[in-house]
């Protein structure tokens, strides 16, 4: 369906300008987490253009994006690299290519499950689910902070919900059926 990986990225909103990259590295230089990446943002663009789909989607580097949009704001060629990071993550998730990382998988799926279930987010339940999915011992880590939050009245004891939860479920399902594209 796609000519190559670049073509695939370009088919998503925000991915279309990837060929304009001049490899100046402004993205990497502006990124608060690039210091911890094996493949820097600029290099990811190179890898995409070299059609190295698996290398890119396997890499946990794409999950290090904090969505701060600094690369997007500063890119001299108008490339929306934060959007490209999102595209890469969704492809890695869909094709289950990402390297095993329980923390990431558990947190993202816990969040997504909660929206599907309740329509709204609630941090206490999210942390609980996340900990149970990864390592229940995490609850000890979150424990003291959780207690403080409860004492300060900053934790919702009764999970929130919305009236037309069915509708939210339906639109999420329909979106999923359409391959998320």
């Amino acid at each position: 369906m796609y000519k190559d990986f670049t073509d695939e990225i370009m088919s998503y909103p925000g991915g279309e300008k990837i060929m304009a990259c001049m490899q100046c590295g402004t993205c990497t230089g502006s990124c608060p987490t690039s210091h911890a990446m094996q493949y820097t943002p600029r290099r990811l663009i190179s890898l995409i253009r070299a059609n190295q789909r698996e290398t890119v989607l396997k890499s946990l580097d794409i999950w290090k994006c904090a969505s701060c949009y600094t690369c997007t704001a500063r890119c001299p060629r108008g490339i929306k690299f934060t959007d490209i990071m999102y595209i890469l993550k969704t492809l890695a998730w869909k094709d289950q290519l990402m390297e095993e990382n329980k923390d990431i998988t558990a947190f993202y799926s816990a969040f997504q499950d909660l929206i599907a279930k309740r329509g709204r987010m609630n941090e206490s339940e999210l942390v609980l689910k996340y900990s149970l999915k990864t390592n229940p011992a995490k609850l000890l880590e979150f424990g003291p902070l959780g207690m403080k939050m409860v004492l300060k009245g900053r934790a919702a004891i009764i999970p929130p919900s919305i009236r037309n939860q069915k509708q939210v479920q339906k639109i999420l399902e329909l979106a999923k059926e359409r391959g998320g594209e």
Partner: protein, 287 residues
């Protein structure tokens, strides 16, 4: 003026203090906020990482609900603000997004009858009320209070209303309230967002840079506009201190809390007691 209020999930839980102070302040400013009926989570930074179409459809539903009523949509959370603005941008720019959203909506009994304007609460206060009027309304100036203003990311990028590198809105507001605004190069540096849960090592370093500079310039507190930023900087401050061998105790307050104080509202109405790092000692300066 009537507005539609999209509080976002946090303001009903971990950011109750933000919500409380918002309610107090808007009342003083004679703004009427009506909550968007039956709104859902915007998907934040998580849904767009998992499914492109779901990340469009979630915020789009909120716009469809809001379009049924009158008034601009006012958002206090940076992440929600950006999510809602982004779906608007994408629907305007990409035919394919428009078509898919419309098609799914059709099957779910939803219809987007218009495009309400999405604005951050800070934007609304500055543009619709205005600094001059606010100055006149100040009953208790924040005199001697030294603040650094932390706008965070998604208020100003990529679709924000202020300069993405050196935003002025919060500085102008705080100065108008009488506070001393200190220069702060971390204004729009990232707090780590949701990485704080999955990859704390990365996020803690980011939180530390922000807090450390606030200390170095001598700030009494960091002023924020986003519940996620507040949570990372406030609730995780102890853990960050442990990791970097520091003893920082920097209160992280919402701009609405300080605004409430300046407008003469009671401390307890503004959720100030809910800070993990208590702001009360720092606030003694203004009596």
């Amino acid at each position: 003026m009537i507005y539609q209020y999209y509080p976002g999930c946090s303001l009903h839980a971990s950011a109750r203090d933000y919500d409380e102070s918002v309610q107090g302040v808007v009342k003083s400013l004679a703004m009427e906020l009506k909550e968007v009926p039956d709104w859902n989570c915007c998907g934040a930074t998580i849904t767009p990482s998992l499914n492109q179409l779901q990340s469009q459809i979630l915020p789009a539903r909120n716009l469809a609900l809001a379009a049924e009523n009158r008034g601009d949509v006012v958002v206090p959370c940076n992440a929600c603000y950006m999510s809602l603005k982004k779906i608007q941008y994408n629907m305007a720019k990409y035919k394919v997004v428009r078509e898919k959203v419309t098609e799914i909506f059709g099957q779910a009994g939803l219809r987007l009858t218009g495009m309400p304007k999405v604005r951050h609460l800070l934007e609304v206060i500055l543009e619709d009320v205005g600094l001059e009027k606010i100055k006149q309304m100040v009953k208790k100036p924040l005199k001697d209070l030294k603040v650094v203003n932390y706008s965070g990311c998604q208020l100003v990028r990529p679709l924000g209303f202020d300069n993405p590198e050196d935003p002025q809105a919060l500085d102008n507001l705080m100065s108008a309230l009488g506070a001393e605004v200190l220069p702060f190069s971390q204004k729009t540096h990232c707090c780590g967002g949701s990485l704080i849960t999955t990859q704390p090592d990365l996020a803690f370093q980011m939180v530390d840079s922000i807090l450390e500079e606030s200390r170095a310039v001598g700030a009494d507190m960091v002023v924020v506009t986003c519940p996620m930023c507040q949570l990372n900087l406030d609730a995780y401050q102890d853990q960050v201190n442990r990791k970097f061998n520091r003893t920082l105790q920097v209160p992280i307050t919402y701009f609405t809390q300080l605004m409430g104080l300046a407008l003469g509202l009671n401390k307890n109405q503004l959720g100030l007691q809910r800070g993990i790092i208590s702001p009360f000692k720092a606030l003694e300066k203004i009596g």
